[in-house]
Amino acid sequence: MIRRLLARVFAPLDMGLLAPMLLLIGCGLTVLFSAAGEDGGKVLDQVRNLAIAITLMWAISLVPTQYLIQVALPVYVVGVVLLIGVALFGEVSHGARRWLNIGVTRIQPSELMKIAMPLMLAWYFHRREANIRLWDFLIAAVLLAVPMLLIVKQPDLGTGLLIASSGFYVLFLAGLSWKILVSLAVLAGAGMFPAWSLMHDYQRQRILTLLDPAQDPLGAGYHTIQSTIALGSGGISGKGWMNGTQTHLDFLPERTTDFIFAVYGEEFGLIGNIILLTLYFALIVRGMMIAYGAGNLFGRLLAGSLTLTFFTYAFVNMGMVSGILPVVGVPLPLVSYGGTALVTILLGLGILMGIHSQKKLVQT
């Protein structure tokens, strides 16, 4: 009896996801100890964050998909209302209006939107399953654009684009026609030329700095210059744990959060980086397999979007640290220090596990 209950309770914890996830978390804690200057306090903090986030992941994996379908719309509406609240009464911190004070605590509604957006769009297409038309993609595009614009206005361009991409993945997986995709890409490309000629000099300068950080070594380019030095000097096998000179001589900014990958790459080298990429790849492939085999359209779209969003985080972060993408505030999933992002990521993985386990239940 107890054994059956236990089996039931632990059933959703999919080993295919869990194994790479735990290994990545292990990498994260190891490198955090070094990045934080051998400060055990920060590691303990992160362990506490992990305990909370893993519990939440496990809890949400037990929630039936049917129930997720029911709450998709309300969650989305609450998210949009909170974002409007931020725009009207939000608290300004570091020049951006992102936080909303709800009496007990401050919340950052854009974080909620990271889950709410794929949930909502998957629900929408699931409802229209039998008869999805071009019209539905237009409505979905509006549902996607409203919260995105609210977040971009905060201003938080990075998060806005990431949330937009999570919605776009749903549209793509729901079958948005290639013709439209290609025309959109061509339009965007063609739009760049008039945009460039209309821009102010300083705006052009900003873009040029993104492309070539060496142009502004004291300002925007500083992070990238220091992080590429860290990676490059790591070499094939790295300088060894806690031996990263860039890190330990205070050159690397934000080295426990957005730029933690530079510390990792400096200390563990190319070999470490390839291992990390492999772990991420394993987790993403498992997520896609879950999407591939999910029992209904809602599950398929949601699982696919969550997996691709996870990939996007990892790719954008490593791309920015290694200097091939502009610097936007995106943490490295499961590795960067910080509780909020961790909860969001693990909730996503929990939903994936739930989708998978319920398909098994249906089959058995």
């Binding site: 070594p217 790459g265 993403i284 696919g304 790719f315």
Partner: protein, 629 residues
Amino acid sequence: MASTGFPDQQLHGFRLRVWFCGFVVLGLFGTLATRFYFLQVVQHDHYQTLAENNRMSIVPVVPNRGLILDRSGIVLANNFSAYTLEITPSKVASVDETIDALATLIDITPRDRRRFKKLREESHRLERLPIKNRLSEAEVARFAANRFRFPGVDINAKLFRNYPQGLTASHVVGYIGRINDKDLENLEARDKLSNYRGSDHLGKIGVEEAHEAELHGQTGFEQVEIDASGRAVRVLSRDEPVAGNNLVLSLDLKLQQITEKAFGKYRGALVAIDPNNGEILALVSQPGYDPNLFVDGIDQISWDDYNNSPDKPLTNRALRGVYPPGSTIKPFMALAGLYYGKRTPATTIFDPGYFVLSGSSHHYRCWRSGGHGSVDLKKSIVISCDTYYYGLANELGIDKINEFLGKFSFGQKTGIDVEDEISGNLPSRAWKQKRFKQVWYPGETVITGIGQGYTLVTPLQLAQATAILANQGNTVKPHLVKAIQNSRTGETTLITYPTERPFDFKPEDIALVREAMVAVTQPGGTAARAAAGAEYAFGGKTGTAQVVGMKQGERYDEKKIDERNRDHALFIAFAPADHPTIALGMVIENGGHGGSTAAPIARQVFDYYLLGKVPASQIEEASDEEEHD
């Protein structure tokens, strides 16, 4: 868009797309792996040199701030290099103990401690703060020998701003101060933060603030090798900073000094403008302050002294002091009368000593109780007849007065090239409705005619209005910066402003009013005494502005009134009479009558500017300061 009605076909399409995504993920991860290979294998040696053997650091190199010079090249603000002792509070265990220990090596005054305390309270950046500036050679050597005892304390060679003229022209030059949190936000908002990495200061007020963009220059940077303890070993490459540009002011420093001294103990302001090109020759606001005290953070006691003084030395009265113009408004009112056809040069009125509005019994009194008898336009200015202007204002009406005086820059910003100018007030019906929710009364128009009531002007506006008159009704924006010297090429760019003509004045009207103003300084006029013996003719108009109201029938007795409640003395003037090259407006606070206290100062200004004559009282510096009565 085809409908995907068949679930099987839909499922098939979905799975194809998942495969597609899988390949995209693989491709992009492959890109990352390639990038890692490039950085960590191909270019490893390059980064290895940068990072491991020779650790590189990028250090901003602060540009030299531009100089501020007067029109003949005398330095008003420059820089000098000196050693400064700095503490990084986050890196020392106890700031107070550290300072006590340092005090055994270096002379640290209580003022240094107070200033450091204030700096710490104002600064939230994790940064080094100066405990002592301008160390002597001996102090530098003593600290260097004991450096190991003081982690978190450093000596740095820095450029300091210096204002060699001290109090003189302080309100013009202004000062720079340490960058505070609010400045940082402003810099960030204007996307200028990276150019201020390494800069501790920026302009806070005056020319230093208004022309910050010219003066600051472009920050350079150095790539330096540092050893494991963080000390610079070798410079790898250097991008030179571009020094800020020098500003040449239109100000004549000698004229400024003579004017400030001529004010003696009086508070007040004077602005002198070249009417032909809008260049400001002198801009005095008394008392002034010592800008040198502000550069590295003023200590609390000096700050309180300035801030709480009833003399308000930190207020620039020339731009921000507002006063009723009193009788100095009369030449402009006369011009309005001619312009709108309410008066001709020959029109005379009879002044019984008062004016009565029809339907009212209130007596608007002329300053001379017996009246001036028969008065025409010229005489009305020469003797400053109030009754003439009560009637004229009543006939013109407030709307025309408002429109006309506005053309002389009264009640509006002149657009001078420094910040914080205020506009004063030129009353109108709309203004009163908005301000007091009341209609405009005819009696208020009457007193507006003699510059009393709601009208408030700044000394700068008085000077500008006089300059417009002196320039035949043409206006040029008043300005302090005459030229900008490029720090690299040495090339000088002159700053000029276009001449505008806001109203189509008749030349003969202006000629008549100017003629009357010249008569003011001749025997029989209100400023005759101040002009006695002058080798040139000049035009002027005296004015007096009440500080406390007088009841009907009460008499003003200067001797019985508290000094701070005495009337303000005003004077406007231009010289020489025929082709003026200088026009001025001035206010002496609590100075009594314009003819007796203000006009003699104007005379000294003209004597120096036109003839190079230094007032006798200022030649013998040893002699007692003369009192101006």
